[in-house]
């Protein structure tokens, strides 16, 4: 085991800013991408549902 205590792990031998700065930003970016994808899918389905509903209404009023 590399680390003898939790605080040692967090300190990263003095390089905490750099190591955690890298890992944290990476995690953030990847999670942001996942969230964006989920929101994009929801947005697409919502918009398409409205679009089809509007199209159905148009066809009904025309018929």
């Amino acid at each position: 085991m590399n680390w003898h205590s939790w605080s040692e792990f967090l300190a990263m031998g003095g390089y905490a800013l750099y190591v955690w700065g890298s890992y944290a930003v990476t995690l953030l970016v990847l999670i942001a991408e996942i969230v964006a994808l989920v929101m994009r899918r929801r947005g697409v389905i919502e918009r398409l549902a409205k679009y089809y509903a509007a199209r159905r209404r148009n066809h009904e009023t025309e018929a």
Binding site: M1, N2, W3, F9, M12, G13, G14, Y15, L17, Y18, V19, G21, S22, Y23, V25, T26, V29, L30, E33, I34, L37, R40, R41, V44, I45, L48, A49, Y51, Y52
Partner: protein
């Protein structure tokens, strides 16, 4: 077996058949990504020993190098599929290329960011204009240019093909990124992982990097599959099957 019964992968080359396939495969890749990244993180923190010269700062390598590999690899894949879409006039390949770009751009950003954070404690500088860093930055601009060009053109097929030309022109940058450390000896260290010679770094470090790289690869596939499903829905919204698909969900 008659011809009509023989299975062919080409049956998935239409958006309509690829959509459900992507939906089925995506969770598996996401699971694989989680497992591999978790394993990679474990190796990077708990298995790999402290480096004699760089101390703990070197652990950034477990993200930096895999991200850089992915940034280059995804660009080549993007170039390949957009090229296929250009030459064979297939819609789905162009959709996949469009879906690849944002993930590729993000990994390029991660590579640049982690590289800066690794460079500061190790070589005393956040950034240096050497060949590899500069061409990796150019790679980021190429991804952004590709996305901007496709967003600016209204006609979908024209956007796909124009993007393909741009992507293929930019492919020349990838060998420059890769071989620049060999051609110009500046700040960035030379390649220590090669196919021919035994790697010069400790085996645990190498395994950690490869596991993380695989994890990033699985993640990329999962993200791109999810994104291409959105792209398919958006572009094929005039078809029956999309209407049924969405109507079933609403």
């Amino acid at each position: 077996m008659s011809k009509s019964e023989r299975f062919s992968w080409f049956r998935f080359s239409s958006p309509q058949t690829f959509y459900p396939l992507a939906g089925t495969l995506q969770p598996w890749f996401a699971a694989a990504a989680t497992l591999l990244c978790a394993a990679g993180l474990y190796i990077s923190f708990f298995v790999a020993p402290t480096d004699a010269q760089q101390g703990e700062a070197y652990r950034i390598i477990f993200i930096h190098v895999p991200a850089a590999w992915m940034s280059m690899f995804l660009y080549l894949v993007m170039g390949f599929w957009s090229g296929v879409g250009l030459v064979l006039n297939t819609r789905l390949s162009s959709m996949v290329a469009t879906a690849l770009a944002p993930t590729g751009a993000l990994f390029t950003f991660i590579a640049l960011w982690t590289g800066a954070l690794w460079g500061k404690p190790t070589w005393g500088t956040w950034w240096v204009w050497d060949a590899r860093l500069t061409s990796e930055l150019i790679l980021l601009f190429l991804y952004i240019g590709f996305m901007a060009l496709q967003a600016a053109i209204d006609d979908q097929r024209r956007a796909d093909k124009a993007g393909a030309v741009l992507a293929l022109v930019g492919v020349i940058n990838i060998p420059i990124i890769y071989f620049s450390v060999k051609w110009w000896s500046t700040l960035h260290q030379g390649a220590s992982v090669s196919m021919k010679s035994a790697p010069s770094m400790a085996t645990t470090m190498l395994i950690g990097m490869l596991v993380m790289a695989l994890g990033f690869w699985m993640y990329s596939i999962a993200a791109v599959l999810a994104r291409v499903r959105c792209v398919i829905l958006e572009r094929e919204r005039h078809t029956e099957w999309v209407m049924e698909e969405v109507g079933g969900q609403a």
